[in-house]
């Protein structure tokens, strides 16, 4: 059976997006998106960790004892995360400080364990790595969209370069400070999920609860 790498790679971008469809890994997606630079660094780190972890786990998938498979996967993911964190501290010290604990928290990002457990454990290394890379890209896409919007409307900047002229400096744009606070990430992510699910109605979940019938208030 031929493996359709194209579909594996492009599916997680929107149709099977890990963040907007599966709502995985949103903790870090919300925390590091105050600026495009941190969002991009986080995206790259997660994609690299996820791809390498999927490759390694897939390569040894036939030899991972079932009873300790989760711990083996976590040890591999955690080691890769530490290595990435060290590299960031060495070469991107400024951004590494801005990301603080969140790089370390890639270890516990359910997206990573989700992909290695659900896909890499049952597929050959090339397919597993393509799948992981695609999921990393899907995660990155959401982070970059949210990070870009937050930086643009919160500071009028993109990548630290002034795009919208600030009112303080004689322009017309007044920064929305709310965009730099955590709640705005929830609003934006919620809006994004809503937008995606309106365009692709198949993604909408069936309601789990039906609200009780409301009686008309008595006149």
């Amino acid at each position: 059976m031929a493996t359709d790498y194209r579909a594996i790679l492009t599916d997680p971008l929107i149709r099977q997006n890990p963040v907007t469809l599966q709502i995985l890994g949103i903790c870090s997606a919300l925390a590091v998106t105050t600026s495009l630079a941190t969002a991009l660094t986080m995206s790259v780190s997660l994609t690299v960790v996820l791809t390498l972890a999927a490759g390694i786990i897939s390569a040894i998938r036939r030899h991972i004892p079932d009873s300790i498979r989760l711990i083996v996967q976590i040890v591999i993911v955690a080691s890769l995360v530490i290595v990435i964190d060290e590299i960031l501290q060495a070469y991107l010290a400024e951004i590494s400080r801005a990301l603080s604990v969140y790089v370390g928290l890639i270890t516990t990002n359910c997206l990573v364990l989700g992909r290695t457990e659900a896909y890499a454990r049952h597929n050959a290394p090339p397919a597993a790595m393509v799948d992981a890379f695609g999921n990393g890209l899907g995660y990155s896409l959401v982070l970059i969209v949210i990070g870009g919007l937050r930086e643009l409307f919160g500071k009028g900047e993109l990548f630290g370069i002034q795009v919208l002229p600030l009112a303080e400096a004689g322009g017309w744009f007044t920064p929305l400070s709310l965009m730099l606070l955590a709640p705005s990430a929830f609003f934006l992510l919620g809006g994004l999920v809503w937008a995606v699910r309106s365009l692709w109605p198949a993604q909408a979940e069936a309601p789990e609860h039906t609200p009780p019938l409301r009686n008309e208030p008595a006149e």
Partner: protein, 264 residues
């Protein structure tokens, strides 16, 4: 087939996955390889990280001096330069044969360190260097500002900071935390500027010469106190002990007295 295999590695791989030998063997192999990977990365990248940290510390020292009210004009007047001095902590005078350039070599020598008794070691350091590099700003002949690197132990680990003392060597002019590993959002707030600004003007000793400085539990009520951080009592205690130790007789005490006598 597996029984006739002579290669022990193949025999190991051919074992059923849930056999005890294979489970323990795989756990051991994975951890060993991961340990090699992590330690390799740490060792290879450490020099670059250390250089980054040194650069950052320099930037923080400059920012600290600029942030102290009234310091910018003083700095301009003195040509914008702080003088760097290596002092001998025991005598409180400038070290004779050590310059800032040779300091790190001198500190590699265990003879230049003093072990601290647990009783006389409130900052939890274990040992203390005999030499320290400090930064001075002079106004005429008198020292108008001293920047003293200090180290202590907080809740999460080591705290490094630079404490700025005004010319009377009893009033804090400012503090900059250069590295710490406190809990983000709680003790980690010690690197927030708003909290550090509260140090300016805090006094260290009362008239009798007793060190009264402390990070308060809650809001500061005396001139010797700094506001505490909610949820970070142990970090605050660590900062208190750090400042008390380093400004006491085991730390910069002799140096501070020498400056106050006008001998520096």
């Amino acid at each position: 087939m597996a029984g006739s295999e002579w290669n022990p590695w193949r025999r190991f791989l051919a074992l059923p996955n849930d056999s005890r030998t294979k489970t323990i063997g795989m756990a051991f192999l994975v951890s060993a390889l991961c340990a090699v990977m992590v330690s390799g990365a740490t060792v290879v990248l450490r020099p670059i990280q250390a250089a980054n940290r040194a650069q950052e510390e320099q930037a923080r020292i400059e920012a600290l001096v600029r942030g102290i009210p009234g310091m910018a004009p003083l700095l301009e007047a003195s040509g914008g330069a702080l003088s760097t001095v290596v002092i001998d902590l025991d005598t409180g005078r400038a070290a004779e044969d050590v310059s800032p350039a040779t300091l790190s070599t001198a500190l590699d020598d265990p003879a230049n360190w003093t072990a601290l008794d647990p009783g006389a070691d409130p900052a939890g350091l274990g040992r203390r260097p005999d030499l320290a590099q400090i930064f001075l700003l002079r106004e005429g002949d008198a020292v108008s500002l001293a920047l003293l690197p200090v180290t202590g132990t907080g809740y999460g680990g080591r705290i490094d900071a630079i404490l700025a003392l005004s010319g009377d060597m009893n009033t804090v002019a400012g503090i900059a935390v250069t590295s710490h590993s406190e809990t983000p959002g709680l003790g980690g707030r010690i690197d927030e500027r708003a909290w550090q600004l509260d140090f300016a003007g805090t006094e260290i000793r009362d008239e009798t010469g007793e060190i009264r400085f402390q990070v308060a539990h809650g809001a500061a009520t005396t001139p010797y106190e700094v506001d505490g951080i909610t949820g970070a009592t142990r970090t605050g205690g660590g900062v208190t002990r750090m400042v008390r130790f380093w400004l006491g007789p085991e730390g910069y005490g002799p140096f501070l007295r020498a400056v106050q006598r006008g001998e520096f």
